[in-house]
Symmetry: D2
Amino acid sequence: MVAVHLESHEYGKSRVRLMRVMRDSDSHRVLELTVAVRLEGDFAAAYTDAENRQVVATDTMKNTIYALGKDHTIDTIESFALALARHFPATYAQVTGARIEIEETPWNAIPVGGRPHPHGFSRVDGEQATVSVTVTGDHEEIVSGLQGLVVLKTTDSAFEDFFRDSLTTLPEASERLFATKISAHWRIARVAAKYEEVRTRARTALIETFATHRSRSVQHTLHDMAVGLLEVCPEVDRVDLDLPNLHVLPVDLTPFGRTNDLEVFVPTDEPHGTIRATIARG
Amino acid sequence: MVAVHLESHEYGKSRVRLMRVMRDSDSHRVLELTVAVRLEGDFAAAYTDAENRQVVATDTMKNTIYALGKDHTIDTIESFALALARHFPATYAQVTGARIEIEETPWNAIPVGGRPHPHGFSRVDGEQATVSVTVTGDHEEIVSGLQGLVVLKTTDSAFEDFFRDSLTTLPEASERLFATKISAHWRIARVAAKYEEVRTRARTALIETFATHRSRSVQHTLHDMAVGLLEVCPEVDRVDLDLPNLHVLPVDLTPFGRTNDLEVFVPTDEPHGTIRATIARG
Amino acid sequence: MVAVHLESHEYGKSRVRLMRVMRDSDSHRVLELTVAVRLEGDFAAAYTDAENRQVVATDTMKNTIYALGKDHTIDTIESFALALARHFPATYAQVTGARIEIEETPWNAIPVGGRPHPHGFSRVDGEQATVSVTVTGDHEEIVSGLQGLVVLKTTDSAFEDFFRDSLTTLPEASERLFATKISAHWRIARVAAKYEEVRTRARTALIETFATHRSRSVQHTLHDMAVGLLEVCPEVDRVDLDLPNLHVLPVDLTPFGRTNDLEVFVPTDEPHGTIRATIARG
Amino acid sequence: MVAVHLESHEYGKSRVRLMRVMRDSDSHRVLELTVAVRLEGDFAAAYTDAENRQVVATDTMKNTIYALGKDHTIDTIESFALALARHFPATYAQVTGARIEIEETPWNAIPVGGRPHPHGFSRVDGEQATVSVTVTGDHEEIVSGLQGLVVLKTTDSAFEDFFRDSLTTLPEASERLFATKISAHWRIARVAAKYEEVRTRARTALIETFATHRSRSVQHTLHDMAVGLLEVCPEVDRVDLDLPNLHVLPVDLTPFGRTNDLEVFVPTDEPHGTIRATIARG
């Protein structure tokens, strides 16, 4: 028998979908969430000895999301994630840590005659609000974020003076299209923060900086987007940004007797550049 | 040797992606299209005799999309699709019919300080504008549409008094959530129509009717959405609607000692109802 | 009020997933199906008058799939689809026609020590077996098929002597890679056919013809694959083939001082050629 | 101006697709890979000072994959990943570390008349072989793996005696279906290992253990699969397994007057359990 040890382990439930309808005023509100739970704790015997006595069923985690989803008027995904993350260690002695991840798919009221309808909604696809809350002993960490937001600049983007060698064929570009799908995570340094206000300021800083930046590279713009966020969000102490370079390639029209003055492009999904960094205060 | 005949055939190019940037004013515009071309004509010998002399390469169709994409300031997807659909039979004697299908993924100017930025854009995912143009001999047909628009009603939706038998378990519902992904196609009866104005009126009629309808079934709402469209779009003579019933199921909270007053739901992707109809004038 | 009429309508349930486990011998069998039901009949009043009395709930269709799924030892997807398609018009006076579509995701026994394990299985992704059965009055039509089967030839594929004009840039190719995702549908002329035997012969004819063909174009190979199928399947009277041309592009290595003797390629998903035809006996 | 620092950063190219055709014998071989490159090094100035002089363009990384893809007869994805991972720090003084990740989509020769055809191939979807190679200074780490392999047990799977509280509704199950999508990574302790032989032994141990295990929980089976791998692969010193619990739910047939003796199930995609662990020697 080979000698082994359980180096690390975690388990939970993923992709629990919840639609919460709030009917507390004439104008309804709807919130569509996808929730994941991860627990750490005294569960090693389930792996090594087929001993389930301490195991909280992942089905019970799902039930917990629906039960707490009923109990809370969900004001922010941060507050709901925090309530869930605190629940598990508070309820089960064997749980030492819990992580809750929530993705929110936004819904807007349908405009009817120019005014938001009280109970008709349309879904916004693509961009999602996210939060990850980790509770371990006395420590609570809240990381808000957004993902899936695709943006594009049609000028003020260059990539020049980079390293060249025998395998380099990319031309210098004083003008190019720059498209990316923003994935941003900002850590909330103060638990009592007004998460929605932070989110609004963070998102505005990210997209306004992107739009107005004179970009010398994806790295350059990424850095200044993070700095822009930190400038307007004193509640945040660290920002992670993942900005894939979604190449939008000019079409060579010369074989057809035409010139392409940065007008005709092919958007591509693959391959793509991957640029990531973490920028923190101090 | 078995006796066979070529009953029907068509070929073309699919998923040709085009991003067109228009820089004709200080505020740029961007249009992202996915285009498909299908040709019918004198191509049987390619199948039966390996004779390629009449075959327009699908690569040439792709080139045509980019070349004509350069030549046109693309005002509407309808006008661009029409230009493409007319090109192929006009250019190639062996082409008897052409069908062009375009899907448009919309982009909006990023608001900076409350005003649309002139060259920063964000993509809108989910809903797409569509058009299908068919040119066969003298006949031209333009069918505009939209797809991917997910909408939801939180009240004014019932499904009652339906047929029951031994395999029926669905309870009568005087109140339920009704979610669907609208796929709509409206045929333009007059080629010179102002397609964008028609589109705006058609879309508004569809979503306003959905929001304000007292729905007795998906069928019922589908019918009235189509009628609503026809009422405000005299340019349209036929509407196809495909409204899947995207079930949003109430969670049974009684095992947890809670009641669910239509507040806590599970959105589901599968299975789903499928409801389709074509409604025409006259 | 605008004058309209209901030109056509159909409704049903889509993406009903069923896993059927057969434990009638020591070696279990598993069948994973995705089923869709479409009904036509006397349902117009649901659209035009909010009258549900004749409407069979799509939830009842789902229940029917599970109930009949229990009653039948499912030998072939054809026989199960036929049982379902006959059930609806036989059970409901208001149903005039039913169409059942089934996709099967295959599972294989896991080999253990070289022999198939009696109750451990692994799923085969990609290729699926399909069937579409339509019952309308006395008429029954069975169309078997397969989809999602991606195949590739590394030689014996050319595309030459095609039509050239000012927008043609594709070079003549006496050798190229030819990749496609086979979507095939064959109509069974005799209802009592042994569907599995037909399927085995049909599939073998399709892929053997593809592999051994000296292809002059996708059209050419498509035609001969259909003829090959008809030659070995007398039970079949018509074949539809959809063979997208999934372009696998040679990489230009000359900038790096290397030659590419058809060794280094980029597989692409978009754009792709689309080639379809229907070949029938007679 | 807010005080910030660049806490961490990395960049690279993702989803570079390569199809390598080897024609060195009458029977061709094809290898389809998706490659990602990540570099760490002296790149901070690109973020903080818009200084690109040290930046290796991600386009150059792509070119490198194709150039080295030509130079190598790719015997294993491990050897190719190692060659790429060594290339970057060896070539560029500013690169301190490189990570290469490869996913392989397998292709099989099409059988013709019972024998593998020399140049006709069919793709196997779902399961992929993977490797991740990291080179940092003198340190080289090779982690082989597989992903996407969906397996199922129709008996010998139970989940009983777990923790129960007021939110627990899951019944004890002495028999249930157990389906999972295996994601496995095994670290090669010896760089000179015969990777393909290790892979064959590792894969066999994983699936044979899964099939023959008397499972008391996913955790239990996960642990014994990892131990089984370590027993037959002395070259491996650590195994990571991620085994989502893909719930296959029995259908309640009692409303239809039928019993369900573990015969009729609904496969589901969401929610799913998530069970992960790392098991190491010693």
